[in-house]
């Protein structure tokens, strides 16, 4: 990522500090609406599963199932008593807990107290654990009846091979059923620790109160150790085409290959390049041709997905079985031509203009700010990422886009997963 510095006042005033015991804190004060959001991201995603597939996910799903003083019903009731939303979420890279709460003290204090209790004394009761196993089993069955999940799981597997990003974060049915509550408790003790945490607070709360709350988190929470760094992904396979027969009206197609890292110097150039190809949806080349001119799909887009250790480039769509070949060939020819010739001068200028004009839309709400803080905090983007974004886009030349496209998109090295009624 390039870096431009600017001097005008920040778009979002981010307060960032390292707490006494070393936790990174990112805070944005937003007094306009009486809400506080607190999110903690742990470096504890499915890439830490090692041999126990699905462990990160079930550990995260167990957090609200019992603490030292409360069972799952108590926890649900207590958050509901104050209208708070408590959620757990996990990805390939991280596991997070989030609390959305009314900022009025009588609500906030109760919700925050329970939030703390969950963080430091999750208990992993046996009966709750077996219930979660069954629920995840159902989730996996749901995925088996849904073509887009079938394609996604096969794509990930073909893309990453033996890398820790390869497996479904829910695990497999066999793997999930063989996990134990002790596995989850051990995972929790190892990774849900201060050294491995990024704290994000946005909303109607003062810096003083945030500091008090940070101190409370630190008092009750072990320091622990940082999680090991996920090894960088290397190409496992390319040019693979897998057909998975499925009794659906449509054929679902996922095609792509390994992508880039956040910190790649081509980050901004590829954003512009991909926007024209299929990132901007409605006005992109893929959308206009395959949906607009040919009416073959409801949606089609292309995207670079970013992870800690190399994400991927992906184009995906679904079309009636009888038009799958046509749509696939059209996509390939649009892609070939675009990577070969690059965007036109006009497309390039319009895309830059569009990206810069639409940037304020992406940062209008508290929810948006949390999303940016997660990227800045967890993925270590520069603290002035938001303020320099438009200048960085403006600085890119057409040639840089053309070069970046050639370097990062390889139409002939794609993995293609085809799920449906036509090979």
């Amino acid at each position: 990522m390039k870096k431009k510095s600017i001097t005008s006042p920040p778009i979002v005033s981010i307060q960032h500090w390292k707490s006494k015991k070393g936790m990174h804190v990112y805070f944005v004060q937003r007094p306009e609406i009486p809400i506080v959001d607190i999110d903690i991201f742990f470096n504890a995603g499915s890439s830490m599963d090692e041999k126990k597939q699905g462990l990160s996910h079930i550990t995260s799903a167990m957090l609200n199932q019992g603490t030292r003083s409360y069972d799952a019903d108590d926890i649900a009731n207590k958050f509901a008593d104050v209208g708070a939303h408590f959620q757990m979420h996990s990805t390939k890279d991280n596991a997070s807990v989030s609390l959305k709460c009314l900022s009025e003290k009588k609500y906030f204090n109760l919700a925050f107290k329970l939030f703390l209790e969950i963080l430091y004394s999750a208990q992993f009761p046996k009966t709750a654990f077996s219930r979660r196993q069954k629920q995840i089993f159902s989730t996996l069955q749901m995925q088996e009846q849904t073509p887009s999940y079938i394609a996604q799981n096969a794509f990930s597997q073909a893309l990453y091979g033996k890398h820790p990003y390869a497996h479904n974060l829910c695990g497999t049915k066999e793997a999930v059923m063989s996990l134990t509550r002790n596995d989850a408790e051990y995972f929790y003790q190892q990774y849900y620790v201060l050294s491995n945490a990024t704290l994000i607070i946005v909303g109607n709360i003062s810096r003083h109160d945030v500091e008090k709350n940070v101190a409370r988190i630190e008092d009750s929470f072990p320091v622990g150790k940082e999680a090991p760094i996920t090894p960088n992904a290397v190409s496992f396979r390319n040019k693979v085409q897998t057909f998975i027969p499925f009794p659906s009206e449509q054929t679902t197609i996922w095609m792509g290959h390994l992508g880039m890292e956040y910190h790649d110097p081509d980050y901004y150039a590829i954003h512009i390049g991909n926007d024209i190809l299929g990132g901007s949806s409605i006005t992109s080349r893929l959308f206009k041709k395959i949906r607009g001119e040919h009416g073959l799909v409801y949606g089609i887009n292309s995207a670079f997905q970013f992870f800690n250790a190399r994400g991927f480039f992906l184009i995906h769509f679904a079309t009636q079985n009888s038009t799958a070949k046509k749509a696939l060939n059209l996509t390939k020819s649009i892609l070939d031509h675009y990577i070969d010739k690059g965007p036109t001068e006009k497309e390039f200028l319009l895309a830059k203009q569009k990206i810069n004009h639409e940037f304020p839309l992406s940062i209008a709400t508290n929810h948006d700010i949390i999303h940016y803080l997660m990227q800045i905090g967890f993925y270590k983007l520069p603290l002035d990422y938001i303020d320099t974004y438009r200048a960085n886009i403006s600085a890119i030349s057409l040639n840089e886009v053309k070069t970046a496209l050639k370097k990062h998109i390889k139409p002939d090295e794609m993995i293609k997963i085809i799920v449906g009624g036509s090979g």
Partner: protein, 431 residues
């Protein structure tokens, strides 16, 4: 809470209504144009026409041909899209506040001079069919829900899905769309809503400038089409390739719009009953069926007081397996029984009340949602401002006795429809 925000309402001589809600947190604005037409306005044979027309609204109008509409919004850094509901069709733009004027020009043009070209229609109806395959036909649960709704409603047009039956889509012509467009798209059948960092005077001027010259048109009087009285439990089994069963219970229920003056409390009590059953993880279905009995992996309850016509209060479950379906059905009926026979405790009622209040406040973070709430109510004939003031009071006033009363009156076997998705083996060639 949101009442502190400044709201402005204006009527124009051609019948167009404008509502502005200021939110100055960021230099952006959302504009939505709502038309009072949706799938519940359609009769058999033309189902899905409101939604198909929504697609054609992006295929050019007199002064903005082909895909110019999307291109202009995009060049200006805006995001635009549309959605069709049972009771409305909505077009929306999200854009930096200094670029907002162009949205008025574009929306006004397509309000009264849409092209509706034959060639474009052929492509677009094919896109709509792809959308139907993706969202309904290839999704076991959505396919089951579509069939369930067609049984739960007997005479009400809520019985068909928004996207319409495939056969109706295949038979649809551009002439049908032209007629539908000329029937319903008129300033006197539309509401413009703007939420964001805007100057109300300026918005009013732009609305007048661009929409003011569009003539009012006579729009059909919408018949009530009240659902016939339910006469007994209906059951439907849906057999499709799947791994998981699905179970739904739906009760024909009144809504605020149809409730008598002295029974305006009923829809709120029904909302509370539905929330006590399945709003969040503290609700009874989650507690008793997911956690205690462990016979299903997910559960929800849904009821909205604000639909245009009588609708259903619905409970949905994903049983763990076909063996658990009967147990799940029994468990759901027991929950209904409990609501009818035991007054709920105040503490439990307080939880759903605070949930309503909190969710109202949480939703003020989103400009889209703020505009949506206004449009959704205005489109079925409520004054948003009035409802917004009254609802909190109505919600706070719900009593345990009222919940018991609506459970006894409306959650009855006569009003019940049961839908069961029975999975067939997934074999590659039984599409």
């Amino acid at each position: 809470m949101s009442a502190k925000k400044t709201i402005h309402e204006h009527f124009f001589t051609n019948g167009l209504k404008l509502i502005i809600k200021e939110d100055h947190r960021a230099p952006v604005a959302i504009m939505q144009v709502w038309y009072k037409v949706g799938s519940s306005y359609e009769h058999n044979g033309i189902t899905g026409i409101s939604h198909a027309l929504e697609h054609m609204m992006f295929r050019g109008s007199k002064n903005y041909r082909n895909t110019q509409y999307d291109e202009i919004i995009s060049e200006n850094g805006g995001q635009n899209n549309a959605f069709t509901g049972q009771d409305y069709t909505v077009y929306h733009q999200f854009i930096a506040n200094d670029k907002l004027e162009i949205c008025f020009k574009l929306e006004a043009d397509r309000m009264h001079q849409l092209l509706l070209n034959e060639q474009d229609f052929k492509k677009e109806i094919s896109v709509v069919m792809e959308e139907r395959y993706m969202s309904i036909d290839d999704s076991p649960e959505h396919r089951a829900y579509e069939r369930f709704a067609a049984i739960a409603h007997t005479s009400s047009p809520y019985r068909h899905s928004i996207i319409g039956w495939m056969d109706d889509l295949k038979q649809m012509t551009v002439a049908d769309l032209k007629q539908w467009y000329h029937t319903w798209y008129a300033p006197n059948n539309a509401i413009v809503i703007v939420v964001g960092d805007v100057q109300p005077k300026q918005i009013q001027q732009w609305t007048k400038k661009y929409f003011g010259s569009i003539s009012a048109r006579s729009v059909p009087i919408v018949k009530p089409q009240n659902e016939v009285q339910a006469l007994g439990t209906r059951c439907v089994t849906i057999k499709v390739p799947a791994k998981l069963p699905w179970l739904a219970l739906g009760y024909n229920t009144p809504v605020l719009k149809t409730a008598a003056t002295n029974k305006q409390w009923e829809p709120y009590a029904l909302w509370a009953a539905s929330s006590i059953l399945g709003l969040n993880s503290s609700s009874r279905l989650q507690k008793n069926i997911l956690r205690k009995k462990q016979i299903a992996s997910s559960a929800y309850a849904h009821y909205s007081p604000f639909d245009r016509m009588n609708n259903i209060l619905m409970l949905g479950l994903t049983p763990n397996s076909m063996q658990d379906v009967e147990k799940c059905k029994k468990a759901l009926l027991e929950e209904i029984d409990n609501l009818q026979n035991q007054l709920i405790r105040d503490k439990e009622l307080e939880r759903v009340k605070i949930a309503w209040i909190a969710s109202k406040i949480f939703s003020t973070d989103s400009l889209f949602h703020q505009a949506y709430e206004i449009g959704m109510l205005e489109c079925v004939g409520f004054s948003w401002a009035k409802i917004d003031r009254e609802t909190i009071k109505k919600i706070r006033g719900i009593t345990p006795k009222q919940i018991q009363d609506v459970a006894l009156n409306y959650l009855t076997p006569e009003r019940l429809t049961i839908g069961i998705l029975e999975p067939l083996e997934i074999k590659a060639n039984n599409a």
